[in-house]
């Protein structure tokens, strides 16, 4: 089974005095759900971009299935922090984009796109233009577009950031359902501590200056959900509260509150 690995990766942007990320190692197998958390500007997006093949590490190696990553590929679908939707397409056409690339018939791909739009609770927004969508709707269209590509790895940069609590919770379960069913590997950036706990099989905590890993937590709440336990029950578990406290500490370590 292919693994996505970053091996002692450093990122150094042109013209910047210091590296943005230094010697970070990560491993995402299919069936893993790895969540990156950390302070604003600590290099989460940068690492995700390395995995996506959009940023070349200054040092270290990024591989997928053992082969070095040389650019973006359909095996790793990305949802960007700023939805990079195509304004010349409708919401449905945006979602169907990956299918169109593969030559799926117009009919079939419209059907599949509508399925995915319903999945992200936008069943009736298929004909809308991008500029007719609200911020949260765009984010969900971006997510559906990545799902349509049926990748081996999903790389998500705060995919639920602009969503209200209820929609967000629903999207979380949708993500977990998809992940459990398709056995994809997920690498996701989030700012929600609970979200990280509910979703992740592994949480990687980054600290800034330059970005490095301070802690890795293995969690299992997501697997419990995938095995059938209701999500509210999982959140009520005292183990959840303990993990929450531990994670909060790890993130805020050495910081005045």
């Amino acid at each position: 089974m292919p693994h996505l690995t970053l091996d002692k990766v450093s990122v150094h942007y042109d013209g910047q005095p210091a590296p943005a990320v230094e010697r970070v190692s990560l491993d995402v197998g299919r069936g893993d759900f790895v969540v990156l958390v950390g302070r604003s500007g600590c290099g989460k997006t940068s690492l995700l971009n390395v995995a996506a093949g959009l940023v070349e590490p200054a040092r270290g190696l990024a591989t997928v299935g053992g082969r070095p990553i040389t650019g973006p590929g359909p095996d790793r679908a990305v949802v960007f922090q700023n939805d990079a939707l195509f304004p010349w397409l409708t919401a449905r056409e945006n979602v169907a984009f990956a299918l169109r690339l593969r030559g799926v018939s117009a009919d079939k791909r419209a059907r599949r796109a509508d399925e995915l739009l319903s999945l992200v609770k936008l069943g009736d927004a298929g004909d809308k233009r991008i500029w007719e969508l609200s911020g949260g709707m765009r984010q969900r269209v971006g997510l559906a577009r990545a799902l349509a590509a049926e990748p081996e790895f999903l790389l998500l940069d705060e995919p639920l950031g602009a969503l209200d609590a209820l929609t967000r919770e629903r999207m979380q379960t949708t993500l977990l359902d998809l992940w459990a069913a398709a056995q994809v590997g997920v690498l996701m950036v989030t700012h929600g501590i609970e979200e990280a706990l509910v979703l992740a099989t592994r949480i990687v905590v980054l600290a800034p200056g330059p970005g490095h890993v301070v802690r890795t937590l293995e969690t299992h709440f997501g697997r419990r959900y995938a095995a059938g336990e209701p999500i509210r029950a999982i959140k009520a578990d005292p183990a959840f509260a303990a993990a929450r406290a531990e994670l909060t500490d790890a993130i805020f370590e050495g910081e005045a509150a």
Partner: protein
């Protein structure tokens, strides 16, 4: 398309609320009160016509050099009916229209791919940049003999002269459009499995489309303005040929009439391209 902005309402601070004509989606407007651009255009044209009539009737310059609108109109009727230099106005017009359109199509077929190549690939830029840069500043009057030596005195030569004038605007605008493509959208497409060709077709071309259409509009203007030079090449028909023949004999009313006919045709074409623009790139300015 109805565009509603606050500009159409009585405004407390006029200077800040004059509104922008840039179209974008806003809620339903109140009924328009501001004058429309088309009305202003009509007024402008009428004012120009009036100025022309007045200065012609005052005989500020000899009518040989500034014929009155009436004289030009009379000439228009005569040339439309009886012709000038052996062909009617319609025949001249059709000959020129066909040349300009053939050249436009050639310029699109060559210029858009060349512009894409320049914008996208380092090798494309290396090869086409010098060719284009070499070609575009050369005055057509200077290379006419070479064109004839290589391509003869038939239609191809005339079309080529016009097409060369059109090539640079099309290619440069395309290349500029490609340079402006959002990096994130390209990345998104690639991560969705797009090959290089698919990125070009599905992301770069649509993104560059507004710029390409601007290039076409500039190119059409350039093409018309090369018409006289092109029709110096053994033409027997064409608006440029007509104008040139008339100019040589100081038949200024025909010259002015020809200029007006070209301007009107160009006007109509421009209008059509703008329609196309609105249909093809409704997202322009809304991203």
């Amino acid at each position: 398309m109805s565009v509603g902005t606050y500009s159409e309402r009585p405004a407390a601070k006029a200077e800040e609320t004059d509104g922008f004509a840039v179209p974008w989606s806003r809620p339903r407007p109140r009924p328009r009160r501001a004058i429309s651009a088309r009305l202003v255009s009509a007024i402008t044209i009428l004012v120009l016509l009036a100025a022309w009539t007045v200065s012609a009737s005052l005989q500020l310059v000899s009518p040989v050099f500034l014929p009155s609108p009436a004289a030009v109109w009379a000439k228009f009727v005569i040339v439309a009916r009886d012709g000038f230099v052996d062909a009617t106005l319609l025949q001249h017009l059709l000959a020129s229209l066909w040349r300009v359109f053939a050249a436009l199509i050639a310029a699109i077929l060559v210029g858009v791919p060349v512009g894409l190549a320049i914008g996208i690939s380092r090798i494309g830029r290396g090869v086409f940049d010098p060719l284009l840069e070499f070609l575009r500043p050369i005055p057509p009057l200077a290379y006419l003999p070479l064109i004839i030596i290589w391509f003869g005195i038939g239609e191809p030569s005339k079309i080529l002269v016009i097409a060369i004038a059109m090539l640079a605007p099309v290619a440069l605008s395309t290349a500029a459009g490609v340079r402006g493509v959002s990096r994130e959208r390209v990345d998104a497409a690639r991560s969705l499995g797009a090959t290089r060709a698919q990125v070009i077709r599905h992301v770069i071309v649509p993104s560059a489309l507004p710029s390409i259409l601007t290039g076409l509009r500039i190119a059409l203007g350039a093409g018309w303005s090369t018409l006289v030079a092109a029709e110096l090449v053994a033409a027997t028909r064409g608006l440029g040929f007509m104008i040139q023949s008339a100019a040589q004999f100081l038949v200024t009313d025909v010259v002015v009439m020809g200029i007006l006919v070209i301007a009107i045709i160009a006007f109509v074409l421009e209008f059509v391209i703008r329609r196309i623009e609105r249909v093809l790139v409704p997202w322009s300015g809304r991203e």
